[in-house]
């Protein structure tokens, strides 16, 4: 039994597959790749695995896709206690997966990947880490699209005398009882946090730039007998998972097919608000003026009731500065605060790793993407960056279903590529520019009529140029089909110079006629 090791044991000189990050993506890669007999090493900069579910420990943090679906298909968990689990339970689940599949020894925590450069002579990734250098035949980026906290631009905080923190960097020792708290943002994190802290804080001021459409979450406990049933008859849980999956897939109709269907969501949201927000002034402040779905639709059973509490105020202004003991809003509004919580999300379109990965032509991924926005072939591979694979790459995000499904689709693609390398005897693969361009043209074409493009809002789905480089415009089923197999016609492949070949671990080589 091994658990993720934080020890300072030296890294191997060379690995076949090096994975950056040990969240859902990195852990899934460790399990699936080791099962397929590949030599894999996962590096995680933090001192624990879990990614999103290690970092987002703010009160109320939880998933907004049902846990039965938001988990690995190969590691179902009959013991989820709630339809939508909270962070500690999801984090524990990921630990459990590491234990059950015994991949702890493949994960090295406390090691940050600082940079990676493609060495064209040796056809390897030369990776620098906080614990020394490693060579890798294949580099997998699983560093997470929602991993780097984002703060609003231009907000000065240096003269603020109170405590400032971000939801994804919560301080467990912080006691908000009787404190005056300002929460910046009304997105997916704020809506989980505010109801919790409103119960204990002296006052909560919510700074809102744009309101969200909120619909009921219908959170409920899963009774013991159901859990026992799932444990004994896993097929039942699989059916429940399938039903949830199918139901969520229907939402694609509204997002992608017919944005006007979203009126039904708006009506539901209005009704939900009407039940708990009686004050017409607050209702007006909370009612969005864009089509539902354009920004992420949020789910909550307790957000609107919390906003109606007398100790909670919604200020419909962006924050411009924190000065002394006050938070200043765009309209000159001032609110005294002991604690300011930025619930302002993540750098979703400006991935930090992109700045540190240098491709064949000596340019960083960030440079290459600077002009075009994030682009990849099938969300996975990038021209100019041989043997680099993404888990949750460009245009693979979802507004409606589980990202773990996407991760598993992309893992299948990666595994197929590794199998092909092994069976066809090539070492280097890089997508043709024409294939990558064609794929992106198709994705952008399909995006152009979706709610995200036409709904009349700006959102974190878009990059600085307004191009949507994060979302997948279709069903997850379609993405799965498109990543089931590697089409070698889309790739340039090559063998490595003889002297540079590495002895492979003895494994079964799957032969495949194609």
């Amino acid at each position: 039994m091994t658990s993720p090791s934080g020890d300072a044991a030296a890294l191997p000189e060379r690995v076949h597959v090096l994975v950056v990050g040990a969240g859902f993506g990195g852990i899934g890669a460790a399990v699936r790749l080791s099962q397929a007999g590949h030599d894999v090493l996962v590096l995680e900069k933090a001192d624990d695995v879990g990614g999103t579910w290690r970092d987002n420990s703010y009160p109320g943090a939880g998933c907004d896709v049902q846990s039965h679906l938001y988990s690995f298909s190969f590691a179902m968990n009959p013991d989820w206690t709630h339809s939508f689990s909270l962070q500690p339970e999801i984090h524990a689940y990921l630990h459990d997966v590491v234990r059950r599949f015994d991949v702890g020894h493949l994960i090295r925590c406390g090691v940050e990947v600082l940079g990676a450069r493609w060495d064209d002579d040796r056809s390897v990734w030369a990776v620098t880490t906080s614990a020394g250098d490693v060579l890798a035949d294949v580099l997998v980026n699983a560093s997470g699209p929602l991993s780097e906290p984002r703060l609003p631009d231009g907000v000065t905080t240096d003269t603020f005398t109170g405590t400032v923190l971000h939801t994804a960097r919560w301080d467990a020792s912080l006691d908000l009882t009787g404190r005056r708290v300002v929460v910046v943002g009304t997105g997916a994190s704020a809506i989980q946090l505010v109801p919790r802290i409103a119960k204990v804080a002296e006052s909560v001021t919510v700074m809102q730039r744009t309101p969200a459409w909120v619909i009921p979450r219908n959170q409920h406990r899963i009774p013991g007998w159901r859990r026992a049933l799932y444990r004994r008859v896993p097929a039942v849980q699989r059916c429940v998972r399938g039903a949830i999956y199918a139901g969520r897939e229907l939402m694609v109709l509204g997002f992608v097919g017919r944005p006007t269907l979203m009126r039904a969501v708006e009506a539901l949201s209005r009704r939900t608000m009407g039940k708990s927000v009686t004050d017409p002034h607050l209702r007006a402040v909370l009612t969005p003026r864009y089509r539902a779905g354009c920004k992420r639709i949020l789910i909550s059973d307790d957000f609107y009731p919390a906003l109606s509490r007398p100790n909670v105020e919604v200020v419909p202004q962006a924050v411009t500065a924190l000065e002394g003991d006050e938070v200043v809003g765009a309209g000159g509004t001032r609110r005294t605060a002991d604690v300011v919580v930025f619930a302002t999300g993540f750098e979703a379109t400006d991935l930090p790793v992109a700045r540190h990965v240098v491709g064949r032509a000596g340019r960083t991924l960030a440079d290459v993407w600077a002009g075009t926005g994030m682009q990849a072939l099938r969300g996975s591979t990038v021209t100019g960056f041989p043997n680099l694979f993404f888990l949750i790459g460009p245009n693979t995000g979802l507004g409606h279903s589980s990202m773990v499904h996407v991760i598993e689709s992309q893992l299948a693609y990666l595994l197929d590529a590794l199998d092909l390398m092994r069976s066809r005897g090539f070492d280097v693969m890089e997508p043709e520019q024409s294939a990558q361009d064609a794929w992106n043209a198709d994705v952008q074409q399909r995006l152009s009529t979706t709610i995200w493009a036409t709904g009349g809002c700006s959102s974190w789905y878009q990059d600085a140029q307004g191009r949507i480089s994060t979302l997948w415009p279709g069903t997850t089923w379609r993405l799965r089909r498109q990543t089931r197999r590697v089409d070698l016609a889309e790739y340039r492949t090559a063998r490595r110079a003889a002297g540079m070949r590495q002895g492979r671990p003895a494994t079964v080589v799957t032969q495949r006629g194609r």
């Binding site: 009686t278 004050d279 017409p280 002034h281 209702r283 007006a284 402040v285 009612t287 003026r289 007398p310 105020e313 200020v315 419909p316 202004q317 809003g329 309209g331 000159g332 509004t333 001032r334 609110r335």
Partner: protein, 309 residues
């Protein structure tokens, strides 16, 4: 059908909680620049601070506007029906004046309906506070007694008078009656009571929402207080320059109340009659209300330092 933007009150620059004499927590908002003349606005029965939104937009940065939620209304603390008394409203007004009007300054105080009654009661019960903190008054759409008798919700011919009174009294105060009505009837009943036929659909929708947002227990508590209210003898104590304003189609506090008050005031500075307008003057004619406030500020405001006359 979103409301036009000016129905949405501006975001208060600062917000504070003021404790009244009996410990009730009152939510108070301050709008406008710190160095501008202070104007305090008191809303009426079943409304809330946000009700002044349209007027606040018009006053803009010319005044430092203090608005507060009467007890049991808006964000102020809920109170038992027994704590819904005229004296409690006076306590609240005094607490807010003391917490917000700067030393030496005397503010213009504008009250609408029950908010104006609170000011008349303050003049009668605490003349010292009036003289220390208030330089001029606006009494908008109000009355000082005999309220139920004179309500004109329906024509009441002689013999049916008592029936009409009973129905009116119940209709206004009964917490269940309103909620028993189907939504459309509830809405038209409230529009009928509070606005004149000239009101547009936004004003109607808004006023119904405001009234329905008032907690039933507050609505009932103050209905009882209003039915028995008699402040007629206090009007003479309101000896600061006072402007009276009322719509000619006011059904809840018909114009004749205002005329009577104006006639009894020791220092009247005018009676503004707004043709075709109903009870909710700050919503139906925000321009006229804002103009009245401005006029009082211009002619009568006493800033800190200029006092001790």
């Amino acid at each position: 059908m979103p409301l036009p933007d000016d129905f949405l009150p501006p975001v208060p620059r600062t917000r504070l909680t003021v404790l009244s004499a009996d410990g009730t927590r009152l939510s108070v908002e301050v709008h406008g620049p710190d160095d501008a003349p202070t104007v305090l606005l008191g809303h009426g029965w079943t409304c809330s601070a946000g009700f002044w939104g349209r007027v606040l937009h018009r006053l803009g940065d010319d005044v430092r506007a203090v608005v507060y939620d009467q007890r049991g209304h808006g964000r102020s603390e809920l109170v038992a029906p027994s704590a819904c008394t005229a004296t409690a409203l006076v306590d609240d007004l005094e607490a807010v004046l003391r917490a917000t009007v700067r030393a030496g300054e005397r503010a213009v105080v504008a009250g609408h309906s029950m908010g104006a009654m609170a000011l008349v009661a303050l003049a009668g019960e605490r003349p010292d506070v009036l003289h220390e903190k208030v330089c001029a008054a606006l009494l908008a759409s109000t009355g000082v007694g005999g309220l139920v008798e004179e309500v004109r919700l329906m024509p009441h011919p002689g013999p049916l008078r008592t029936v009409a009174r009973a129905v009116t009294e119940r209709g206004m105060g009964d917490t269940r009656l309103l909620t028993l009505l189907p939504p459309w009837a509830r809405r038209s009943a409230i529009s009928h009571m509070t606005l004149s036929p000239a009101a547009d659909r936004h004003q109607r929708a808004y006023c119904t929402d405001v009234v329905l947002a008032c907690p039933p227990q507050t609505r009932a508590g103050f209905a009882r207080m209003l039915a028995d209210l008699d402040l007629g003898h206090h009007v003479v104590a309101l000896d600061v320059p006072t402007l009276v304003l009322c719509g000619t189609e006011d059904r809840l506090t018909p114009l004749r109340h205002s005329r009577r008050i104006d006639a009894a005031l020791p220092h009247p500075v005018g009676l503004v009659e707004l043709p075709g307008i109903g009870h909710m003057t700050p919503v139906q004619t925000p321009d006229a209300v804002a103009d009245a406030v401005r006029r009082l500020v211009r002619d009568h405001h006493v800033s800190a330092g200029a006092a001790t006359a």
